[in-house]
Amino acid sequence: MSAGAAIALPAPAPRERGRGVAPIVALLAPIALINAVGFLAPVLNLARMSFYEVEPTGAMREVYTLATWAKVFSDGYYAGLIFDSITVSLGITLLTLLCSYPIALYLHRSSGTWRTILLVLVISPLLTSAVVRTYGWIAILAENGLVNNALATLGLAKLKLMFNATGVTIGLTEILMPYMILALLAGFGRLDPRVEEAAATLGAPPFTIFRRIILPLTLPGIALGCLLCFVLAVSSFITPKLLGGGRVFLLATEIYDEAIVTLNWPLAATLSILVLIIFGGALMLYSRALRAIL
């Protein structure tokens, strides 16, 4: 699909009144139903559970209390947890963007079989589970792993690359890159090579073309990719668990611990709702950014 076509897309023909509403309702009904049963109902249940009373043993009583919410808002630990989750995820998102952008741009410009091969390469990591890929990173980042052995061979000091926030950042960045690349590609529709050529003809140096033409035209893709990766980073817990070494405390890992180890389900539910609120904030920022761009 050429970018020009996307811009020049004819406006949809005005719909005749009265007709067309029924099919739209019929088409939306299945997904609305699935969402209501599979998403909305569990979330409401979670919200309700966050107000349940919990005993130290983990026994829950269906008595409503604000105790858990009060604890989350009064204990500085949880504020720190929220702050850390957001900043670490933002850092990962930025890193993912920097690593993925050149790849996506190259992919966008390539064509034919080469493009297909590259696309398969980009998508293929998604065929392997994040758990397996994280274990792969352990082999690479461990004290006697690929990187540190290479450093040792060169006579350099070994680095602490995992079981800390560095490891989590490296692992998640790689794991999220395919999503970022695909989102960027989807958002690159407006990028037309003819506009770049026109700028070059008028004497713009490559960096100016990038700054004034390419970057502004790819902003929708950047916004979409960042939203997607941020949400995935905040909610991922396997990679932080495996590469964090019990030193990196994030919302998602805390929810897992409270639900599975400590058995404080109301607290886990409260933190889950907080994550959902953070997602809502991210979504709002995204739509605002999109309106500013378009």
Partner: protein, 348 residues
């Protein structure tokens, strides 16, 4: 009527298509740990039980941990699918408080009479079915001198080589309790300051507080060389690794982790469930499972081979520090806070 109900449930549950065989059969659904535990338990306890009771079929429903079992029990409260559940004692207490279980005693499960006193836990509807204890693990190839004390974990040569499942996991908590006692702490319900201080000395050496998938392969592979884990799994892993993994009971002692067996309230195969629980607590089943997986037995009459008993904590009971896990639950949050503030930062 009863048979037809359990028949229907069996069909719905398993989606099996051999109705004739089930018509006269009762089914007991046992919820328990997955993986190694399931593999060994099926051979040592479930299969002999089915052989002795041809009319009862046991379905083992594996779950990765006690919390998920509790989750299942909660979700199925209105229509339970399981009859028997094997889970950690503190989770069992939560299930008891939520009225998800039926009380086990000598009346419905006669073998309860033969259990050690510490297998009968006040205010918990289930009873102890296995005892496990915390042990120090090390890689025999990398560590030449067998460690004797938990504080060997703080030795400089193990810098960055220690793997301990940290809090909130109860292995980390157990270590705090053991070291608190060793350093003169008197009541862990009031203060574990001394234990936390000891862990603070070990912390700079710790490579990971989250050894995954478990601590045993991490030490066998040499990624870490020393650490802490549960005895039963350590013993099985020691055999599987050809002796590479070694386990010792350090001089400061250890604590018991208790798995309870419980009857699910209104389970579909009620009588058969109690029958299975009774067999699981029998001297015969306890002997078979201890000899297979080295959990210490809870039945005092179990006659276990010397070779197997030597690999449990039974002969070193004087080293086992009594812990009231139920009372401990009340102070777990403050201990966790100290762990976060005084242990973790020292390991960064």
């Amino acid at each position: 009527m009863k048979t037809s109900v359990s028949f229907a449930i069996a069909v719905v549950l398993a989606g099996l298509s051999a109705p004739a065989a089930f018509a006269q059969q009762q089914t007991v659904t046992v919820m328990g740990y997955s993986g190694l535990f399931q593999e060994r338990y099926a051979k040592a306890v479930v299969e002999p039980f089915m052989k002795a009771n041809p009319g009862i079929k046991v379905e083992y429903f594996p779950m990765p941990n006690s919390a998920q079992m509790l989750g299942n029990l909660r979700a199925q409260k209105a229509a339970p699918q399981a009859d028997v559940v094997i889970m950690d004692v503190s989770v069992s207490k939560a299930a008891t408080d939520e009225k998800l279980l039926t009380k086990i005693d000598e009346k419905n499960v006669p073998n309860v009479a033969d259990l050690y006193p510490n297998a009968r836990i006040p205010d918990v509807d289930g009873v102890g079915v296995t005892f496990d204890n915390l042990v120090m693990l090390y890689n025999g190839e990398a560590v030449k001198d067998a460690p004797k004390s938990w504080m060997d974990l703080a030795k400089p040569e193990f810098k960055g080589k220690v793997a301990i499942p940290g809090m909130p996991d109860i292995q980390g908590l157990s270590l705090v309790l053991i070291m608190d006692k060793a350093r003169g702490g008197t009541d862990y319900l009031k203060s574990v300051e001394k234990g936390i201080a000891a862990l603070g000395e070990i912390a700079p050496n710790v490579q990971t507080w989250e050894p995954k998938p478990e601590v045993y392969p991490v030490i066998i592979s040499g990624q870490a060389v020393i650490g802490a884990g549960w005895n039963a799994r350590a013993q099985v892993n020691a055999d599987a690794s050809g002796g590479k993994l070694k386990a010792v009971l350090p001089e400061e002692g250890s604590v018991f982790q208790i798995n309870t067996i419980s009857l699910v309230a209104n389970g579909p195969g009620k009588d058969a469930g109690a029958k299975f629980a009774n067999y699981a607590l029998s001297a015969e089943a306890q002997k078979a499972f201890t000899e297979s997986m080295f959990y210490a037995p809870t039945n005092a009459k179990a006659q276990i081979s010397d070779a197997a008993i030597a690999r449990t904590a039974v002969k070193s009971m004087n080293k086992v520090i009594p812990v009231d896990w139920i009372a401990l639950a009340k102070v777990r949050d403050p201990i966790m806070e100290q762990w976060r503030r005084k242990v973790i930062p020292l390991s960064r």
